[in-house]
């Protein structure tokens, strides 16, 4: 058995779990010898260790769920949800958030050095899946001496991880909060990801993922990928409300290809700021991991004939009415399967025009729902 050492990384302002000789086997069959998991914790673990919540981040997220993010210099990606007196209250709960493997904020991923040959992984990094990410998280949780998580919470790719937890480690969790997710990545979702990947790979700077050898980054490709993806996170209504056909810092159109429209300027800004904080190879690997996620036919069987008891798990499934990337009907498939098996499932579709990104934005109903769900179920367990 490999040892887990937890160190503090001052530059990254987070903890890093180092598991040397982990020989971590991936779903693909490949192995990672030494594993590194960058993570942050917030709040205090209670004496009975019953108040731990794992927050799983989405595609471009990281361990900086709340508080200061040293990479961006801004607040964490879910600061409005997680923190003292926030819906996921760190006065009450011990919140853990780790960077997924394959990511680029300190965990083992294409940007990191392969200890076996002392060179950066780049395109040689093995393919990772959602299952692999969750397996790594479970090693971290074991390393923190937590036997059972109170909750696993996540939106989008984070929701996929939460669902994977309920399939792979049901005995280690009490409930999951699954927001804007699905049992599978649809053909349309894969298609959008493919366009993003093609944008990166056709950037001449990408050089089959070896750009770091030349001290360069495929910024153009990555920013185009981000621009495409960003469109899918919004809704037509939200875009119209925010930008309409308004012009950017000008009164008349230029009859050229400048960013005449505000929406263009906004997307360019989104793309540009993204390349400063994200690794292009990571983007390839993580979008692929989402594409490979598929429990469409298998979920019900996995739950019904689980190796480990899973009857106790409470599921909260949330969707957004204007999310066309992970639409409500996808969430309802999960709810139907669980109800068909008489599981403890709750479901709410939140009415909003903000699209897939709603889970990151100001949605009071989501706040109240998550807060109430966590507190009432926590009381039930700790009666």
């Amino acid at each position: 058995m490999s040892d887990i050492k937890i160190k503090t990384d001052n530059t990254l302002e987070c903890s890093v779990a180092i598991i040397n000789n982990a020989n971590f086997s991936l779903e693909s069959g490949e192995k990672i010898k030494n594993l590194k998991i960058a993570f942050k914790t917030f709040g205090k673990l209670n004496s009975k260790k019953t108040n731990a919540i794992l927050v799983c981040h989405a595609l471009t997220g990281d361990q900086y769920v709340t508080g200061h993010n040293p990479i961006t210099g801004k607040d964490g990606w879910w600061s409005r949800m997680v923190g003292p007196n926030k819906p996921i209250d760190t006065n009450k709960f011990f919140v853990i958030c780790s960077n997924v493997i394959g990511g680029c904020a300190g965990s083992t991923g294409p940007k990191e050095i392969n200890e076996e040959n002392k060179s950066i992984y780049g395109g040689d990094f093995p393919s990772v899946t959602i299952k692999d990410m969750v397996k790594a998280q479970s090693i971290l949780i074991d390393g923190l001496n937590i036997t059972k998580l109170f909750s696993v919470v996540g939106g989008s790719m984070g929701a996929m991880q939460a669902l994977q937890w309920s399939i792979d480690f049901p005995e280690k969790i009490s409930n999951i909060i699954h927001i804007a997710g699905a049992l599978k990545h649809s053909a349309q979702n894969i298609a959008f990801h493919e366009v993003g990947r093609q944008a990166i790979m056709s950037d001449p700077v990408w050089k089959k993922g070896r750009y770091f050898n030349y001290n360069e980054r495929p910024e153009r490709g990555l920013s185009v990928a981000r621009m495409i993806a960003h469109i899918t996170y919004l809704s037509e209504d939200a875009m119209h409300r925010k930008f309409g056909r308004k012009l950017q810092s000008r009164d008349i159109i230029s009859f050229g290809f400048d960013a005449d429209f505000q929406v263009e300027s906004y997307l360019r800004y989104q793309g540009k700021s993204f390349v400063d904080r994200f690794d292009a190879n990571s983007y390839l690997y993580l979008t692929r991991a989402m594409d490979y996620f598929d429990y469409d036919e298998k979920f019900k069987r996995k739950i019904e004939f689980s190796q480990n008891p899973n009857n106790h798990i409470k599921y909260l499934i949330v969707s957004f009415s204007s999310d066309w990337l992970f639409p409500t009907q996808e969430s309802k498939i999960i709810v139907n399967d669980l109800n068909n098996l008489s599981r403890k499932v709750s479901f709410l579709e939140i009415e909003t025009d903000k699209g897939h990104d709603s889970f990151l934005l100001d949605e009071p109903q989501l706040d109240n729902l998550i807060n109430g769900f966590l507190l009432s179920n926590f009381e039930e367990i700790n009666e």
Binding site: N339, N340, S346, L348, L369, S376
Partner: protein, 227 residues
């Protein structure tokens, strides 16, 4: 009786029809008050369905297992005999297809509890007879053009439907408009005239669920995949 106290009374009576430690589905569960009562008093395991988004959200935030959905579309997801009891309180008259709903209730529950306002009550008959206009009463307080209640029926109509569908009425409680309670089956001939609201405990004739015991758990369904 006003509407709230009438609903409370309804819930109290529903509780008397249910045994302890049972699993219950409450259709149209609102913010979970009946479920709370049944969990507290009968140690029940409850699930709910609620069409109204805000009410469903409140119930979930209280810790109940509630689906934001439409009973007329979403009951099919539950397996046969998933619950000991399925409750439909004061909403059968608002359903598009009451007959289908009734058979769904008894498919997913061993027993069903259905309560409804009796359209055969003397006040309603009297209003229609005298004024010649659609009745508006405490239990049916809407005008004809904006009422959610689209299928009006009397106790006699309901009993006829049950008999047509081979449904057994195990218990039936009637309430007068003053809240007086009586057993419908044992009552006098004018019961349809005096019952303001009715609550029925229903089950199917000769319905024996198949229980298959495996090493791990009991499958409680009409069909299972045996591999």
């Amino acid at each position: 009786m006003n509407r709230i106290s009438s609903i409370r009374k309804d819930w109290k009576l529903i509780e008397t029809l249910i045994d302890e430690n049972r699993s219950i589905l409450d259709i149209g569960c609102g913010d979970g008050m009946l479920m709370e009562q049944l969990e507290k008093n009968l140690n029940a395991t409850t699930h709910g369905i609620e069409l109204d988004r805000d009410l469903a959200s409140k119930a979930i935030a209280k810790g109940f297992n509630v689906i934001h959905g439409d009973a007329e579309l979403d009951l099919s997801q539950y397996s046969n005999n998933s619950f000991d009891y399925v409750i439909l309180s004061q909403t059968l008259q608002a359903m598009m297809k009451p007959k289908e709903i009734l058979s769904e209730l008894l498919r997913i529950g061993s027993k069903a509890i259905v309560s409804f306002p009796n359209f055969g009550h003397w006040k309603i008959r009297f209003q229609l007879l005298v004024s010649g206009r659609m009745p508006v009463t405490e239990s049916l307080p809407y005008t004809w053009y904006d009422t959610p209640n689209i299928h009006f029926f009397t106790i006699k109509d309901f009993l006829k439907l049950c008999s047509d569908m081979n449904i057994i009425v195990e218990k039936s409680i009637g309430l007068t408009s003053r809240g007086k309670q009586f057993d419908i089956s044992e009552s006098f001939a004018g019961v349809n005239f005096f019952t303001h609201e009715a609550i029925f405990l229903l089950s199917y004739k000769n319905f024996e669920p198949i229980k298959i015991k495996s090493t791990k758990e009991i499958f409680n369904k009409n069909s299972v995949i045996v591999s």
